[in-house]
């Protein structure tokens, strides 16, 4: 057992923990301010913000030997017998000096800086800085430089912590960024022909402790204090990263990574980060429709449930296509409902969109080729109900031969997913119910078109590529006219009250042995 003393409090650590001073202090709830250190990057000890007093207990003589100078806590291991002092006047003064030095050449253009409100320079200045500036420096407008298609750099706001440079070297492995110049002329830059353009580049914006690196898609859209953050799970690919969904008045403005050591650690890919525009696409389906002959009629949700139930019960042999975008709970409710009407119904997995190969990064991050969040979860549910997972083509060909009386097809895809010929064959089913986000060749031929929900609007769980089941609640409400698949199926199954994903998941656990480890959103982050 390693015993470390921090501010006269003793902390017992496992020697295997291998913590540094900042991490050890955090275990006691003591915050040591830091800019350049990040748990996911190498240690450089360059910002000097985490300077603390450090010493060792000399057990033979029974006293503490302190180092005469302050040491950076990020670079000092919390070994047995080490002593940290983080609140002495010497340390407090050192922090104030560092803050003053950083602000000498900082533009202090906080009013127009996107980071204001979540900026470490601001926070630390209020907590550790001095009240007045001693230097005769006036606010100015920062120079700006484009680093790549998505990221822009406000040169003068930078405090040269070099987190972004280390990130592109160690995690994305693409090494586009570098520090040019020396001393007070140091700047972050790229080479002219090698812009910052890798699939993890968005993470440098989150890493930047100040407002130097900004996301061009988010730039000037919202002030951060107007947004609320919701815990979510990314539905962009089978990796299933933990994310924060930042929303203001039911509009998603930003997606950020949420620390999860089991999946994505501190990062997310650009595709996931900017995966929200389709949620607010004006061409999303917004009215439930019924087609009779050539006429298209808008139906009211309240009447639709009974009508749909009646039609399905008299449709003959049924088939359900369960989209890999549905949550475990929704897939369960759908399969259970369809099988309760027709115990022999075919249950098939919807098309699984795959793009290229898995992309692996030196830092261990993986972007899956499988661009859907829940293939494994849906397969497990299908196997439970039908004993096997039927393929989409099987349903299509069966419908083509006229063997399907009623087909329920769930979509939820971000991109076009079905071609006209497959849609034509499926449409031979007597009754075709399509639940989707966007209009498609299939929706054009469907008897019922039900506007569904996007991933930020769903309650439920996904099973990722490693078999980890993660639950999350919705961040925003579906647009008016659309309805989450879960709540519709909940009502169709004859349950009363509001849709409760947690209740369904408990049922799933009782019926199906999920060997996968379960992870709740409240267990981490």
């Amino acid at each position: 057992m390693t015993r470390v003393t921090i501010d006269n409090r003793v902390l017992e650590l496992d020697p295997e923990d291998r913590l540094n001073g900042i991490e050890a202090a955090a275990r006691l709830g003591i915050e040591i301010p830091h800019y350049c250190w990040h748990p996911g990057l190498s240690v450089v000890g360059s910002c000097r913000m985490c300077l603390v007093e450090h010493g060792t207990i000399d057990r033979a003589k029974g006293h503490v030997v302190m180092m005469p100078k302050l040491v950076p806590a990020c670079q000092t291991p919390a070994t047995d017998g080490s002593v940290f002092i983080t609140n002495s006047p010497k340390v407090v003064q050192a922090r104030a000096m560092v803050e003053e030095g950083l602000l000498l050449r900082h533009p202090v253009d906080c009013p127009i800086c996107d980071k204001a409100g979540e900026c470490f320079l601001q926070d630390y200045h209020f907590r550790h800085g001095q009240d007045a500036r001693r230097a005769d420096a006036r606010p100015f407008v920062s120079r700006r430089r484009e680093l790549g298609p998505d990221i822009t750099l406000f040169v003068d706001r930078c405090i040269l912590c070099s987190r972004c440079v280390r990130f592109v070297r160690e995690v994305s492995g693409s090494s586009e960024l570098m520090v040019t110049g020396r001393g007070s002329h140091e700047e972050i830059d790229v080479l002219a022909d090698f812009p910052l353009n890798n699939n993890l580049s968005g993470n440098v914006v989150d890493l930047c402790p100040v407002g130097a690196l900004c996301d061009k898609h988010f730039l000037y859209r919202q002030r951060v204090w107007f947004m609320r953050s919701h815990e979510g799970v990314c539905a962009g690919c089978a990796t299933g990263c933990s994310i924060w969904i930042d929303e203001n008045q039911d509009r998603v403005h930003r997606i950020r990574p949420r620390e999860n050591p089991k999946v994505n650690r501190w990062w997310i890919c650009n595709d996931g980060r900017w995966s929200y525009p389709h949620v607010h696409n004006p061409s999303r389906l917004a009215t439930p429709l019924r087609r009779e002959g050539g006429a298209t009629v808008a139906v009211d949700w309240s009447k639709l449930v009974r009508e749909l139930d009646g039609r399905l019960r008299h449709a003959g042999p049924l088939a359900a296509v369960v989209s890999p975008f549905l949550t475990v709970e929704e897939a369960y409710l759908l399969c259970r409902y369809i099988r309760s009407i027709d115990p022999e119904a075919i249950l098939a997995l919807g098309p699984v969109p795959t793009v290229g190969e898995d992309e692996r990064f030196p830092g261990g991050f993986v972007i899956s080729a499988e661009k859907c969040p829940n293939r494994r979860g849906v397969e497990r549910i299908l196997a439970h109900f039908a004993g096997r997972v039927a393929s989409f083509d099987e349903v299509v060909s069966r419908a083509h031969q006229g063997g399907v009386g009623g087909a329920w097809v769930s979509g939820g895809y971000r991109r076009p997913w079905i071609d006209a010929s497959a849609a034509e064959q499926l449409a031979r089913a007597g009754l075709l119910v399509v639940q989707d986000l966007f209009d498609s060749p299939l929706a054009e031929r469907a008897g019922y078109v039900l506007p569904g929900a996007a991933f930020v609007e769903r309650d439920g769980s996904y099973v990722n590529r490693d078999g980890l089941l993660q639950s999350a609640r919705r961040a925003i409400r579906p647009p008016s006219g659309a309805r989450t698949e879960g709540s519709l199926l909940w009502e169709l199954s004859g349950r009363s009250g509001l849709y409760q994903a947690e209740v369904v998941l408990q049922e799933v656990f009782r019926e199906i042995e999920m060997k996968e480890p379960r992870m709740n959103t409240d267990e981490h982050g």
Binding site: R105, P107, D109, P111, I112, D131, R138, P139, F140, V141, S142, R143, R144, D156, G181, S184, H185, E187, L219, Y220, R221, R223, W225, F226
Partner: protein, 183 residues
Amino acid sequence: MKPDDPRVRWIDEPELGPLGRVYVPLATEGLATTLRHLFGRKKTVQSPEERYVSPAPLIYRGVHRLNRDSQGRVKCVACFLCATACPAHCIDIVAAESPWPDRDKYPESFTIDELRCIYCGMCEEACPVDAIELTSLYDLSGKSREEMIFDKEKLLAVYDMTKDAEPMRTAGVPEPRRKEDGP
């Protein structure tokens, strides 16, 4: 400055002396003030025939205006601090990258719902660049609600209208400039 700053002096209300405690002298003093105003010069103005002119237009809180910078452009930098401070939520801003090389952010649209506004002046106080100010225009009227939602052009027009009578409070302060080369 933090509340526990040693330079902050906290002052309490002075305690009443013996004269104040016996009530009559202070009450008489107050009555005397009332009587003096009762028989003094009348301050009531017969509006609208007579027009009231504020003796201190710079502290009156009337219709808003958006100031212009030295080049005649809107001075606002779209920081949303007025919208954040506004207790009535009557300010709506859409920010965008500015079309000018020396500035980063500007308001693409800036609207104030003058009917919803409570004229508290918090926007003016929150503004870091003194772009929004309240003028002494008090007799604001319109024929529809839509007409009372002032957009950027209208607010700038209020500035053009009032700038001579009520000069900008920070007229001489230099505007932040972009650094042309390294620090």
